[in-house]
Symmetry: C2
Subunit: 444 residues, 2 copies
């Protein structure tokens, strides 16, 4: 995109953000204009023809975004450290420097994604640090604004790379086998960005020194919008289980094959899709199950299908609950198999362990949200994965969602009003201040 | 395909046909070897790499096949006439030449089709003529072996062109607008094969002079095979109604959208597919309904679909029955629309009037089949269209089906044993002899 078009988009983006922003939200050191201006400046990096964001992980664009954030970190008086995985930490020194509270998110995007997914969480944490700095609030422990590398996983079909590297979760033997969309090895990609395998694996950090992690992220759903709320408190991060299910039957001519005796895999698949939707509610209020992809072979108007391949995406914030829904889905598959005489093959292609966030952390975030918004806090699960899912396994973790317009995400149309963003930033600030007053042991 | 490979396929095809052929079927002038040899010779014309038949309508291959059949017609003592649509008639003179009994089928194929769909019906009629000739049977009326042009419709996405032209059913104003897969106009295609528009429209023939039409065709289904029968009596030809149905819902993230409130068009489509299969049996034993094609948008593992487009192919041999099934399908669509909150669009993309074949003609064919096979005749509908569907609107018509191995058709694997073919030819011969003894008025 031409430089001029990029600049004019950024200007428009900023003025759209500022439109009807209530100046009363600029208080206690938090500046809506500053947040908006930084979102607008980041939007220029990797701007696409469709006015989306294209900042692939380990790309020049992700790097440029990190460098820009580092400039702002310095402006906020933070000292900067970058680990071997490219995770960036901006530290505001606390009274006791033994422990740290972390908050942040990521700056990489999916191809042609939006301008809020990631940047909002980074800028929210940075805004709190800068507000503290400007209002002379010195936290009890260090406060680190973090930018995690490669959250989206668009490059190596993985994701959460920076946070997993920091947690020491990455199996390097497997990691080095990865190739990106250009066939470039993981090591070569690191080298191209002045990183090394050794440095990458050395980015593991002792997480018992981290007192808490709090992440702000857009909801990417419609629950807050439907309830007219700016901010929500996340109950847990639902790890997905993916099943690929193939129903095989007898293809035949749609005219010359009588109904009795047909073995039609699409009829079997139809029953599965219809009944799968009723399974989550039998287990939990947070479970979801979706058939998103379905392919018919040979897919001709006058041919009874021979094969139907579909995927089931099953999620819940509690592992046992998720496993129960998966078990019910498998039982349903078997019932459908017997009833319709089809042959069925089931492959589990993904199984991510979900993470429930601690009640105490939710409570702190809920009280902060209620103070800021004057409305009863709304708790909701996160269906998508976030760095908070990794951190939540080791560290007392909370997550705040910001209202997403129309629930649209991973799309240039992604939008949250500045009013909603800043309300969430105030809630984050109060959450962090409350955490700052407690011991780590009180948070779990 | 190289000449040598073609010759060697044809040899193999012949020896496979002759394998275990019971010589006792060679009687009353009918020769299995002659039928097999002619099928094998026709198989060379348009033979594909996959050993299928590729004889597009109005092509050099269809022309060559017609010319070869004309040679055999002469050998059988028939006088040959070709009309302006390229339909070929070989006439065995009867005692009274005012009327004719017609029997035949077509020589064109679908792309890479089989070697029986069409040729068997032409060679069966020819075999009866030759058997009569050799046994000095002189029919009461003329007997015409007919080769209809362009039954399959692979060239202009139409079909039944020769029989419809003879019946005067073709609207020339529309016909001249057609273009083939190369963008060549209908008129140009005719010209390339020494035909003219004027001659084509002049091929209409007075069908009240046709006493009866009887067509032999492979079943293209498994009903005869499942019952271990060589020959079946067709009750009617089921015209299809095609509906294209689009279900629209709300796309969303499979993780971040709670189950309550979802509007998932694939769930709605699943219920439609599942319940559609139960509708035909509520109306008739011959009705069928099939969803053969289904496409999901955007079709991503973790995305609730926004749109599902599918086709329903509904057929019956009785127009009222078919209309009743279509009406039930439309009511089901409405029920599903209301239940799941989706928006639905329904388009009827095809509606061919089915043709019931007269009971008297079925009875004659059934008695002939029982005499030949010694088994009770099996009546079944034809789900696919045939020239007999066109003829059946004007002329007392019967149709005999020959057992299709595994129900496979429109495929190089298409197969019928010579034993089954010749049994059907004997049944055809007896059917035609019975018809020959009756007045036209007795046949309806």
């Amino acid at each position: 995109m031409a430089v001029q078009a990029t600049a004019s988009f950024s200007k428009l983006f900023l003025s759209r953000l500022m439109h009807q922003y209530p100046a009363t939200l600029d208080r206690e050191g938090v500046s809506g204009k500053r947040v908006a201006s930084r979102l607008a400046q980041l939007s220029k990096i990797g701007l696409t023809e469709q006015q989306g964001s294209h900042r692939m992980s380990f790309s020049d664009e992700e790097r440029a975004a990190k460098e820009l954030v580092k400039v702002w970190m310095k402006e906020a008086g933070l000292s900067i450290y970058e680990d071997g995985a490219g995770n960036v930490f901006g530290t505001l020194q606390g009274k006791d420097q033994e422990q740290s509270i972390l908050s942040g998110s990521h700056l990489d995007s999916v191809p042609n994604g939006g301008h809020f997914d990631g940047p909002l969480g980074v800028l929210a944490a940075l805004e709190v640090a800068q507000a503290w700095q400007e209002t002379d609030y010195v936290p009890e422990t260090n406060f680190e604004v973090v930018v995690f590398t490669d959250e989206e996983g668009a490059r190596f079909n993985g994701g959460l790379t920076g946070s997993r590297a920091m947690a020491g979760e990455i199996d390097m033997a497997n990691q080095v086998k990865l190739k990106d969309f250009n066939g470039k090895s993981f090591e070569k990609v690191l080298e191209d960005h002045q990183l090394t395998l050794k440095g990458f694996s050395g980015s593991k950090r002792s997480l018992n020194k981290v007192k808490a992690y709090v992440e702000v992220h857009i909801e990417q759903g419609k629950q807050l919008e439907e309830r007219n709320l700016s901010t929500g408190v996340v109950t847990g991060i639902a790890g997905p289980s993916w099943l690929t299910i193939t129903f095989k039957g007898d293809a035949g001519h749609a005219g010359n094959t009588p109904m009795p005796g047909r073995i039609d895999p699409l009829v079997a698949a139809g029953e599965f899709v219809l009944r799968l939707k009723d399974l989550p509610e039998q287990v939990s209020p947070s479970g979801v199950a979706t058939v998103g992809k379905l392919e018919v072979t040979p897919n001709g108007v006058n041919v009874i299908p021979g094969e139907v391949k579909l995927t089931a995406d099953i999620r819940d914030i509690d592992e046992q609950w998720k496993n129960q829904i998966v078990a019910k889905a498998r039982a349903l598959i078997q019932e459908v198999e017997e009833k319709h005489g089809v042959a069925v093959d089931v492959q589990e292609t993904l199984n991510v362990t979900p993470v429930k966030l601690p009640e105490t952390m939710q409570q702190i975030a809920a009280e902060a949200t209620e103070q800021v918004t004057g409305k009863k806090a709304y708790h909701l699960p996160s269906g998508a994965g976030h760095d908070a899912m990794v951190m939540g396994r080791y560290v007392p973790t909370a997550m705040l969602f910001t209202n997403s317009k129309d629930g649209i995400s991973h799309n240039p149309k992604e939008w949250s009003t500045l009013e909603h963003c800043v309300e969430t930033i105030h809630a984050l600030k109060k959450t962090l201040e409350a955490i700052d007053q407690k011991d780590r042991s009180e948070l779990l």
